[in-house]
Every structure is written in structure tokens, then in C-alpha cells.
Symmetry: C2
Subunit: 147 residues, 2 copies
Amino acid sequence: MREFLKTKGFKMTPQRERIFKAFFGLGQHVTVDELYAKVRESDRSIGYATVWRNLKLICKVGLAEEVNLGDGVTRYDRITREPHGHLFCLGCKKLIEFETTEMVPGLTAVASAQRFKPEGFKIEITGYCEKCQSEHKEAETPQAVRW
Amino acid sequence: MREFLKTKGFKMTPQRERIFKAFFGLGQHVTVDELYAKVRESDRSIGYATVWRNLKLICKVGLAEEVNLGDGVTRYDRITREPHGHLFCLGCKKLIEFETTEMVPGLTAVASAQRFKPEGFKIEITGYCEKCQSEHKEAETPQAVRW
DNA sequence: ATGGATGCAAAGCCTTTGCAAGCTT
DNA sequence: AAGCTTGCAAAGGCTTTGCATCCAT
């Protein structure tokens, strides 16, 4: 990893090493806060900004990508083997992945048709997971627009 | 529209009417700022919060939906005839739509397989449009992590 | 020695909300 | 009258950045 970064023009530091390990140790869809909390377990001196910047760095060197589900928080998804989409539960915020390999060719075709150079694909399904469906109910009886 | 809102428990007001007209008059992918600017052209007294709340209301009654491309700004997309995806240019931020009707069945199937109740589908392709491809070049030679 | 990397604190930016007053129904 | 709406100003909440200092190379 140290070598890999060097070829990209970056240096390895103790903090960076801990952050990287923690990131790749955690599952997918990590938020800055989650990673920060994890990293702090082994080193209370690491700053929030450092974690944030390294998360950005990981994306920059192509090891992860940002995922935005529209809930105001940016998640970082490690780029893995197969391309995948997300099922995002609006109730418990849980994220479930599903394979999208077979959809990529079609999307690539769509992009080419527009002379568009694709960098990434995002396929998301929002809704309610089995558990939250019952709790959600049709409480949909708006009274006043009060958010 | 007044009747429609009434059935949902909401009232029609002069401001709301202007906001709705402006929203449906503008194209797709409108941001709060854009709609606010548009509305202010005909009524300088309408507040930002009112525009924002009405945009939320439009979504609440099912006439539009939020779109988050990860650039920090929420866009509001009128729900139209056919389901569609977006091609988002990372350079000029331009948004191009494309039909996704044929992909919906497959996604619905994915959701059912997880006993997930889908509320919405999102398909996005990020990259560079024809015009921005040349300008973008491979300036990808990171020097320091300075964001 | 260089120039990238860190920490902290402070900005930034958009999104939301508290309230008192104003309008539809 | 009852309660949804509106405007303004102030919070919020997360993402970025300025800087002086530190450290990898």
C-alpha cells in the first residue's frame, strides 16, 4: 500500500495507516463519523479532518467511491469485485446490496449513445425493508406542512 | 390543483400558487435556489423557506421527488410519464435524462427477492459529457491532498 | 530540505426549524 | 374560530478549509 501510494505521489504515515486499515476492516457504506469513531479506538489523537481527508484520498486513488443516499450523509463504499446497487430502507436506514453486473452493459450503451464518458454507475432502490414495512403503515395523513 | 391539495389536507395560497406554477414551468432537476430566484421575479416578498417548504410539499403529495447527485445540492424532479435515469456530467454539472422503463421490472424483482417494498428507483451515470471530455483530460496527477 | 500530512478551530453551505403574525376554509 | 401558511432569522448538521507544525522521503 505504501508503494501504491508512492506511485500516486502520496506518503504513508502512521495515521494514514490506521485509517486505511480501519476502513478496509469495516464493511461497506462507511460514514466519516463511523470511521472516525473506529479509528479513535486505537488512537485518540487522530483528528476528524484527517479521517475525512483520507477517506477522500482513498476515493481519489480509486479504492472507494462516495455514495449519497440523500439522507444528508456521505458514505464511502469500497470498490469491490462486482458492481452493485443498493436497497436503502427509509425506515431503519439499512443498506442491502445486490449485484448489478448484468445491468452495466446496458448502461454503458446508454452513455455511449450520448457520447458520454461514464465514470461510475449508481443504481438505488429506496423503500422499506421487511421489518419496517409493518411499522411504517400508511401514517400518510398529512396535517400541516411542518418539517 | 386547489381541489387536489384540499383532498390531501392542504390549502392553496397566493404564494403557493406562484411557486407551483414556477416549478412546473421550469424544466426538470430544479434546485431550491433556482426556483426561489424564479419565483422572486414575480413576487419579491416570497421567502426562501416558503419555497423550500413548498418544494417539499410537492414531493409529499407525490408530484415530484428529490434527486441527489452527490454535489451537495438537492434537486427536485417532477414525476413524469416514464421513469428515467440521469447522466450527470461531473464537469459542467449538466443533467441528461434517459428512459429506464425497461429496467424497472428487473429492479422490482430484485426488491421482492429481499422482501423489500420499493418506493423509488434511482439510476445514475456520472462521468463527462462530450464537451467536457476534452477539457477534463488526464489532469489526474495528484500532488498533495489539499481540498 | 521539501513538500505532503496532521490537528484544531473556524468557515462554508445547504437544509431545517422556531415563532409570531397572516390567511384560507 | 381553527389551523394551515408565511417570512425572517436563527439553528442545525455535515463537509471543507486556513494555518502553523510535524514528518516521510
